[in-house]
C-alpha cells in the first residue's frame, strides 16, 4: 500500500492530469451510484415523504406504533441474547483452544468447523435444526424413546422436549439456530486477540506477585475487553440483519423487523409504502451505530494487540 502512496514525485509532474486519474474510477462509481446510492437514497427520502410526495415526519412517528415497536423489540431481544450467549460460549471455546491447553486435534477440528459453521447460515441452517430438534427430528426422537413404567404401570416418557414447552418454531428455536453461526463467529474473531496476549505480561504479573485472578482482572481483561465487546457488536449486527433462517424456520410467524419488511415488500401490510421506508431506515440507523461502535473498539484494540 505504502509503495503506491509514497510517490509524490510522479504525482507532481502529472498534476494537470490528476482529474483524469479519477476518471479511471468512473465505471465503478457509476455502478455504485445507480445500484447502491440511488436505491438507498430512495429509501431514505421515501421515509420522509407522504404518498402524494410531500415532506412529512409522519412515517417516522410510525416507529412508535405498537406493532412496529414489538417487532423491533423481538429483533433486538434475539440479537442481544444470541450475541451475549454466543459471545460467552465462543469466548470459552476460544480460550480453551488457545490458552486452555485443549488437545491439539480438538483445536484443529474446532477452528476448521468454526470457519465452516460461521458460514452456514440461511435456509439450510433452518433445515438442519428442523431435522435435528424439530417435532420428528433426530434428537427429539431419541429423547422420546426414553420411557419408563411408573408406579401405576403406565408408560411415561418424561424427556420429550415438546412436552416441556420447547418449540423449535419459536423464539427459543430461533436463538438455538442463530447460536450455530454466532458462537463460531465469536471463536473466529476473538481467537487472534487471545493469541495476542503476550506471555511476558503474565510472567511480569506473576513476578510481581499477582494471582491468576489479579492477572485477569487487572491485566488481561483491560486489554481484551474492547475486542470482546467489539466482537459481540459484530455478532449483534449479524443477527439483527438476518432474514433467511427466520423465514425458513418459522415461515414468518415471528415478527422480526426483517420479516416485517419482507411482508411489506410483498403486500404492503402497513397500508402505506412510505411507512415501510421508515421501518427500513430504523434498521439502518441501528446497524450504523453498531458498525461505528465496532470500528471504534477495533481501533482501541490494535493499540495493544498487533495481530
Amino acid at each position: 500500500m505504502d509503495q503506491a502512496i509514497s510517490a509524490p514525485r510522479t504525482r507532481r509532474i502529472h498534476l494537470p492530469t490528476r482529474l483524469s486519474n479519477w476518471l479511471g474510477l468512473l465505471p465503478f462509481f457509476i455502478f455504485i451510484l445507480v445500484f447502491l446510492i440511488l436505491p438507498s437514497l430512495n429509501l431514505f427520502l421515501g421515509a420522509f415523504k407522504d404518498q402524494a410526495g410531500n415532506f412529512t415526519l409522519e412515517n417516522i412517528s410510525l416507529l412508535t406504533d405498537t406493532y412496529v415497536l414489538k417487532s423491533y423489540s423481538i429483533s433486538l431481544q434475539i440479537s442481544v441474547i444470541t450475541s451475549i450467549v454466543g459471545g460467552l460460549f465462543g469466548f470459552a471455546v476460544a480460550y480453551a483452544i488457545t490458552l486452555g491447553h485443549a488437545p491439539r486435534w480438538m483445536r484443529t477440528v474446532l477452528i476448521t468447523f468454526a470457519g465452516l459453521a460461521a458460514n452456514f447460515g440461511g435456509v439450510p441452517l433452518a433445515f438442519a435444526f428442523i431435522a435435528t430438534v424439530g417435532r420428528t427430528g433426530f434428537i427429539t426422537a431419541l429423547l422420546k424413546q426414553i420411557c419408563f413404567t411408573d408406579a401405576s404401570g403406565a408408560q411415561v416418557c418424561p424427556f420429550n422436549p415438546y412436552d416441556h414447552g420447547f418449540n423449535l418454531y419459536s423464539m427459543t428455536g430461533l436463538v438455538l439456530a442463530y447460536l450455530y453461526f454466532q458462537m463460531p463467529l465469536m471463536v473466529l474473531v476473538i481467537t487472534p486477540a487471545l493469541e495476542g496476549l503476550k506471555k511476558d505480561w503474565r510472567e511480569a504479573a506473576e513476578n510481581l506477585g499477582a494471582s491468576t485472578r489479579q492477572y485477569w482482572l487487572h491485566v488481561a481483561l483491560p486489554i481484551l475487553w474492547p475486542s470482546i465487546l467489539g466482537a459481540m457488536l459484530l455478532l449483534f449486527g449479524s443477527a439483527f440483519g438476518a432474514y433467511a433462517t427466520a423465514q425458513a424456520l418459522t415461515g414468518g410467524s415471528i415478527y422480526l423487523v426483517t420479516i416485517l419488511i419482507g411482508q411489506q415488500i410483498r403486500g404492503d401490510v402497513l397500508n402505506n409504502p412510505n411507512e415501510g421506508y421508515a421501518l427500513a431506515l430504523g434498521m439502518v440507523v441501528v446497524m450504523a451505530f453498531t458498525i461505528a461502535g465496532y470500528t471504534i473498539l477495533q481501533r482501541r484494540t490494535t493499540r495493544w494487540l498487533q495481530i
Binding site: 465503478f28 460460549f89 447460515g121 427500513a280
Partner: protein, 265 residues
C-alpha cells in the same frame, strides 16, 4: 494454568462446542437417509436430484454465480489496480463504500432496489432478462465487501507501479498490462474472491425470492414447506458445497489472512 482443573474446563468447552457443531450435522444426515421406512436409503437425495425444478434452479443460480463473478472481477480488478497505480487517495473512500452492504441489511437493500427499479424512469422488471440484469447488479453489490477485500489484499502483495513500468517499457498498452500482467499476478486473490462470491450467490435467498426468479434459495424454501426429508438432503448438499468452496479457498490462499464469511442470512 497447567493445572488439571484448567485442562478439564478446556476439554469441557471444546467438547461442548464439538457436540454443538456435529449433532445438527449428524441429525440432518440421519434424517435425510430415513425417507424409506425402516431402512436407510439415498431416496431423498435421488428425489431431489431427479426433480427438474431443482436442476433448473441450481442451474440458474450457478449461471448467475459465474456471471456475477466475471462481471464483479472485470469491475474490481481494474478499479483497484487503478487506485494503487494512480489514485491511492481513493482507497479509504472505497473501503467505506464497500462496507456499506454490511451496514444496510440485505432485506433493506433489496427493498430499495425493488422500489427504485420497479417503475419508471429506470424500470428493470418488465422482462426476465431485465430482471436478471437487476439481480446480477444486486449480487455484485452484496458480494462487494468480500470481492474488494480479496482483490485489495492481492494488489497490496505485488508492486503495481514497478510491474506497470516494466510492462510499459516493453511496449505493452494498458489493456495488455491488465490482462497479461495484473490478472495473472492476481490469480490467487481473484480465485478466493471468486469462490466467496460464487458461494454467496448460490446460497442467496432474498434477491431471488423478491425479484421472483427461479434461484436455488426460493426453491429450497418451497421444498421446506412442502416436503419432509428432501430439505435435510438439500441442507447436506449445500453444506458440502460450502465445505468445497471454503476448502478450495484455504487450499489456494495458504498463509494469507483473508476474512472468510460466505452466506447471507
Amino acid at each position: 494454568m497447567k493445572t488439571r482443573g484448567g485442562r478439564f474446563w478446556a476439554v469441557f468447552w471444546g467438547g461442548l462446542a464439538l457436540l454443538y457443531f456435529f449433532l445438527p450435522l449428524y441429525g440432518t444426515l440421519e434424517f435425510s437417509l430415513r425417507m424409506q421406512k425402516g431402512t436407510y436409503s439415498l431416496l431423498a437425495y435421488q428425489t431431489v436430484l431427479a426433480d427438474p425444478q431443482f436442476l433448473t434452479s441450481f442451474g440458474y443460480s450457478a449461471a448467475m454465480g459465474v456471471i456475477t463473478v466475471t462481471l464483479s472481477m472485470l469491475l474490481f480488478v481494474p478499479t483497484v489496480y487503478w487506485i494503487y497505480l494512480r489514485v491511492p487517495k481513493a482507497r479509504p473512500i472505497m473501503e467505506v463504500i464497500t462496507i456499506l452492504p454490511f451496514i444496510i441489511p440485505t432485506i433493506v437493500y433489496v427493498f430499495g432496489l425493488i422500489r427504485t427499479f420497479s417503475g419508471p424512469p429506470f424500470q428493470l422488471t418488465e422482462t426476465p432478462f431485465k430482471t436478471d440484469i437487476l439481480i446480477t447488479a444486486g449480487y455484485i453489490v452484496l458480494s462487494m465487501p468480500y470481492m474488494f477485500r480479496a482483490v485489495d489484499v492481492g494488489m497490496r502483495s505485488i508492486d503495481v507501479r514497478m510491474l506497470t513500468e516494466a510492462a510499459q517499457s516493453l511496449g505493452a498498452n494498458q489493456v495488455q498490462i491488465l490482462f497479461h500482467v495484473i490478472f495473472p499476478n492476481q490469480r490467487i486473490a481473484i480465485l478466493s474472491g471468486a469462490l466467496i462470491c460464487f458461494a454467496l450467490v448460490i446460497g442467496e435467498l432474498i434477491l431471488g425470492d423478491f425479484l421472483v426468479r427461479p434461484a436455488l434459495g426460493p426453491y429450497m424454501v418451497q421444498v421446506g414447506r412442502d416436503r419432509a426429508y428432501e430439505p435435510a438432503a438439500l441442507a447436506i448438499i449445500s453444506y458440502a458445497l460450502t465445505w468445497i468452496c471454503l476448502g478450495l479457498i484455504q487450499f489456494f490462499s495458504r498463509g494469507s489472512k483473508t476474512q472468510r464469511q460466505l452466506t447471507g442470512r
